[in-house]
């Protein structure tokens, strides 16, 4: 009798051990990922991500997610985990991709490749830390390129740091510096506070802001009197402080807001940063002056491109679009068409009269504005860390695309005119060549 009970308890022990082992195995399957069959089915039925010309940026092959274009728009596309998107559009549009729907982007692969190559060359040559470029189709707001540096290949995403995976043009915020002057002058012209020929006394330094004020200074040597056109040409902070002197703070802040600063970009589903405009209660004379040359506010490269697009697009703001069929977005008139046209002429002069060697191409009408912004480190403006910025569009007389460039932390020749402007020029050269656009601007002969 005793032997019988002993045998039965042995059987029960073995059975219990087997069930426990099964439990451990099942838990491990859940913990380490779903059974292979399910994963394969989920992956295989997932929709593709394609560029505007139909070239595939992400698709499923043999139960695996592959990215045939490798680093091209890698940060925008993002990557897949075991069964769902982890970052970028793979995560943002996970639900519709899971349902087998394809995602068509507005990105143009050749413009994207041009932008990435120009950015990579600029950042590497000038020993920068990172950078971003955005190219927008002027009339529609379709994003043709959104490049980040360093590059990221989603096929091999585990070997990259989170920094490399960051979709910088949409997420990195920075002070846009002097590029903002083009937009503020546009607003001042629109309100009748200045004209292109208005003359201002412009010493190299000027105290602004009364009791709690500060001295602002200029970096580029210039004559003691400048017109508004020359204020842009010499990128004079002192000149800008004069131009906005009679601009009511609320109005000027509202213009910056209308340009898209300090508010969310109306681009559905995709993650973007908002940037910052100081609250109106902080806007004293000094804040108004510093905002006129892009200090004390922040923006993403995408926002900067969308804002400059207002000048290119006859004063009309169109919100950027990245996914085809995701809605028309916002449209609003910020400037009168004639003001925008005047600004295009002024910004063309900035390149042709000031930085043609850096941003101009013989025979083509390019327009834009440079910026070199000190970076805030430990609540103080650093004297060794800079953001090199450029925003512009081309062709200046009838713009088709708007471009914004930002490079952070360059060690060599960090000025906007030395680093960001040549990136813009290289991008413009590639795009104009692809359009096979004939030169339109007659070359200036000696003596002219």
């Amino acid at each position: 009798m005793e032997v019988k009970i002993h045998n039965r308890s042995r059987v029960m022990q073995v059975l219990a051990l087997a069930m426990f082992t099964l439990l451990v195995w099942a838990y491990a399957q859940l913990e380490w990922g779903l059974p292979q069959g399910i994963r394969r089915t989920v992956m295989q039925s997932r929709g593709s991500i394609v560029a505007s010309d139909g070239s595939v940026l992400a698709r499923s092959v043999g139960g695996k997610r592959v990215y045939p274009q490798a680093t091209l728009a890698g940060q925008v596309v993002g990557m897949m985990g075991s069964t769902e998107g982890l970052e970028g559009l793979e995560a943002a549009y996970n639900r519709s991709l899971e349902a087998g729907e394809d995602l068509k982007l507005t990105l143009d692969p050749r413009t994207q490749a041009n932008a990435e190559a120009a950015l990579a060359r600029g950042v590497k040559t000038h020993k920068g830390e990172y950078g971003s470029v955005v190219v927008i189709e002027t009339r529609t707001g379709r994003v043709l390129a959104a490049a980040s540096y360093p590059p990221f290949d989603p096929n091999d995403w585990r070997t990259y740091s989170p920094d490399a995976r960051r979709n910088r043009p949409f997420l990195d915020v920075f002070e846009p510096g002097s590029t903002i002057k083009g937009l503020v002058v546009g607003a001042a012209l629109n309100e009748g506070h200045t004209t292109p020929a208005t003359v201002y006394d412009t010493p190299m330094r000027r105290y602004v802001g009364g009791r709690w004020g500060s001295t602002i200074g200029d970096a580029v040597a210039h004559p003691g009197q400048l017109t508004t056109k020359q204020v842009l040409r010499y990128s004079s902070n002192v000149g800008m402080s004069h131009i906005v002197e009679h601009f009511p703070a609320a109005d000027m802040r509202d213009y910056l807001n209308q340009y898209g600063f300090g508010q969310d970009v109306s681009i559905p589903v995709v993650s973007t940063a908002t940037g910052r405009l100081q609250p109106l209660r902080n806007w004293d004379d000094l804040v108004r002056a510093t905002n006129a040359f892009g200090q004390g506010m922040s923006s993403t490269t995408l926002q900067l491109a969308a804002a400059f697009n207002v000048l290119a697009n006859d004063g009309l703001y169109v919100s950027p679009r990245l996914v085809e069929g995701s809605g028309a977005g916002e449209r609003r008139e910020v400037l009168r068409p004639e003001t925008a046209k005047t600004m295009r002429g002024l910004l063309q002069s900035v390149i042709e009269d000031g930085i043609f060697h850096a941003a101009g191409i013989k025979g083509y009408a390019l327009a834009g504005k440079t910026g070199t912004a000190q970076v805030v480190v430990d609540s103080k403006y650093s004297n060794s860390l800079y953001d090199s910025v450029f925003a512009g569009f081309f062709p200046a007389d009838a713009p088709r695309v708007t471009v914004a460039v930002m490079v952070h932390g360059a060690k060599i020749d960090y000025h906007g005119s030395m680093l960001a402007a040549p990136i813009y020029r290289e991008l413009a050269s590639g795009t104009l060549s692809e359009w096979a656009a004939a030169p339109t601007v007659p070359e200036k002969k000696p003596g002219q």
């Binding site: 043999g62 045939p68 274009q69 490798a70 091209l72 692969p109 490749a113 025979g363 590639g430 656009a437």
Partner: protein, 136 residues
């Protein structure tokens, strides 16, 4: 007169019926087994074909991805620059006035007019541009 229905429930009748039904069932079973025997390899072949199709689809997808990976805009761009491509926008351009080239006298610029017999219109000079493109 009312016909009277008689139910034949004799043993011989039941035996006859049972034999007929059994025979029909056996025949049907034989037909089914025969059909199954004749078509026994169809399913195997279908499965093999499905497997082959799966392999071929996987190969096609892999090749498509390889082609796409080898023809990315970055690679084409790098290759073109390595071959000495110069961008159109940056290439030096020269301008020149195009001389008008007179048409040969034997050719007329408009089709002959039958109503105006005897008088041929003077040949109109035509500007023709010949473009030679050179890669590199």
């Amino acid at each position: 007169m009312i016909a009277r229905l008689t139910l034949d429930t004799s043993g011989a009748t039941w035996r006859g019926r049972a034999m007929r039904y059994v025979l029909i069932y056996v025949l049907l079973a034989l037909v089914l087994v025969g059909v199954r025997y004749v078509t026994h390899d169809v399913r195997v072949q279908l499965r093999a074909a499905a497997d082959r199709e799966e392999v071929l689809i996987a190969q096609r997808d892999t090749l498509e991805v390889q082609v796409q990976a080898l023809t990315t805009p970055q690679r084409i761009r790098e290759w073109a620059f390595a071959q000495g491509m110069r961008r159109f926008a940056e290439a030096p351009k020269v301008t020149a006035d195009l001389p008008t080239i007179p048409l040969p006298a034997s050719l007329s610029s408009s089709p002959p007019d039958s109503s105006n017999s005897g008088l041929r219109p003077a040949p109109v000079p035509q500007t023709a541009l010949e473009v030679r493109t050179q890669w590199k």
